[in-house]
């Protein structure tokens, strides 16, 4: 007798006992794992992109004859790469055997610490680097000699003003790039934590 697909479906599911739903407690485990994986992979790629940037900057300054400045900037960029790598490795030391909720909480805490630390670094480090690079670039040029002719108060005011603008710019650029690259992933992480908290309360 010919069996129709409708019959196979109907009879098959009548006898089926394996239609049990996965437990709700496991509902977030894999999803959060995937998000963490995505964040980790994005941060690694993001950090690795500093290497070609360092090489290109070094090449450009060597090409225009500012070797020392090229070395200085390349060292700083590679330094930033190693610093980031160290911070990212610390993320991997989190205890993944912990409960999903605790793991995510700790992960979020570390990410926030890294963000806070990098914001400080951009706010203070970026103006220092740019002003030093500016000084190295224009050293022994007319720009620098006309700057030196200004009175000391005006010089200090100008440098302080520039440092403030650069600091704000550095922080703004960092926040903006973080939002563009990680915004969606971090929002998903927050959503999962909110959901899990909601689930624990209900």
């Amino acid at each position: 007798m010919e069996r129709s697909i409708e019959n196979i479906w109907k009879k098959g599911f009548e006898a089926e006992t394996k239609l049990s739903a996965p437990a709700i407690s496991n509902l977030y485990k894999r999803k959060s794992g995937l998000i963490i994986q995505q964040i980790n992979s994005t941060t690694k790629k993001d950090n690795l992109s500093l290497i070609p940037v360092g090489i290109i900057i070094f090449g450009i300054f060597v090409f225009i004859g500012k070797v020392l400045l090229g070395i200085y900037l390349a060292i700083l960029i590679f330094g930033l790469f190693f610093l980031n790598r160290k911070m990212l490795k610390e993320l991997e030391t989190l205890n993944i055997r912990d409960s999903t909720y605790n793991y995510l909480l700790n992960y979020r805490k570390r990410i926030k610490n890294i963000t806070r630390y990098t914001t400080w670094l951009m706010g203070i480090g970026f103006p220092l680097v740019v002003i030093t690079a500016y000084w190295m670039f224009f050293q022994d040029t007319e720009v620098m000699s006309s700057f030196k002719q200004l009175n000391l108060v005006l010089e200090i005011l100008l440098i302080s003003g520039l440092a403030l603008v650069l600091s704000a710019l550095g922080i703004l650029c960092y926040r903006l790039s973080t939002k563009i690259v990680y915004g969606e992933l971090l929002a998903r992480l927050e959503n999962i934590l909110d959901d899990m908290e909601h689930l624990m309360k209900s």
């Binding site: 697909i5 196979i8 479906w9 009879k11 739903a21 996965p22 999803k31 209900s202």
Partner: protein, 163 residues
């Protein structure tokens, strides 16, 4: 997601979600992923549910949309990670079902296109053509024609195995 919501609004319809997710996945790991994503999407979009349709229709709609989107995403990834895809290597899936004929039917359904899988699943679940058409976004006549074609295709795929 609240436990109450899961127990009251998802669990009674878990069978629908499981049947659909199984048709779009080959491994237990993928199945768990898809099931989980469907549940979370149902929870996230619960406020968009308008009582013009049945809750079960809503579950079908979300389950199919999520599974088709995830499968497309997976296929794109596979294309990116491999220069060529071995077309003949069709995954057969693990033995999820005790009934051998059902297992074979699922293997055949997995060889259909994403949309055809959706249509035949809705048909086998005894949804009227009108409802299938509204979920898929086409006309009941078109659904009728497609079902005839899909059934022929399935029969060919199952030829000698079941019939």
């Amino acid at each position: 997601m609240s436990k109450d919501f899961y127990t009251q609004f998802i669990l009674p319809f878990a069978g629908i979600i499981i049947k659909i997710c199984r048709a779009y996945t080959d491994t237990e790991e993928d199945f768990q992923d898809y099931y989980q994503e469907v549940c979370l999407q149902i929870w996230n979009s619960r406020e968009n549910f308008k009582e013009e349709s049945k809750w079960s229709t809503w579950i079908y709609r979300i389950s199919l949309n999520v599974c088709m989107a995830l499968l497309k995403k997976r296929k794109r990834k596979q294309v990116r990670s491999s220069d060529y895809i071995e077309v003949q290597n069709i995954p057969t899936g693990e033995n999820y079902f005790q009934d051998e004929s059902l297992q074979l039917l699922y293997q055949a359904i997995r060889q259909l296109s994403e949309l055809d899988r959706a249509i035949i699943l809705l048909y086998l679940e005894e949804n009227p053509y009108k409802e299938i058409a509204s979920i898929i976004g086409t006309t009941p006549n078109n659904i009728g024609v497609r079902i005839t074609r899909i059934k022929k295709q399935l029969k060919k795929l199952l030829d000698g195995k079941i019939y």
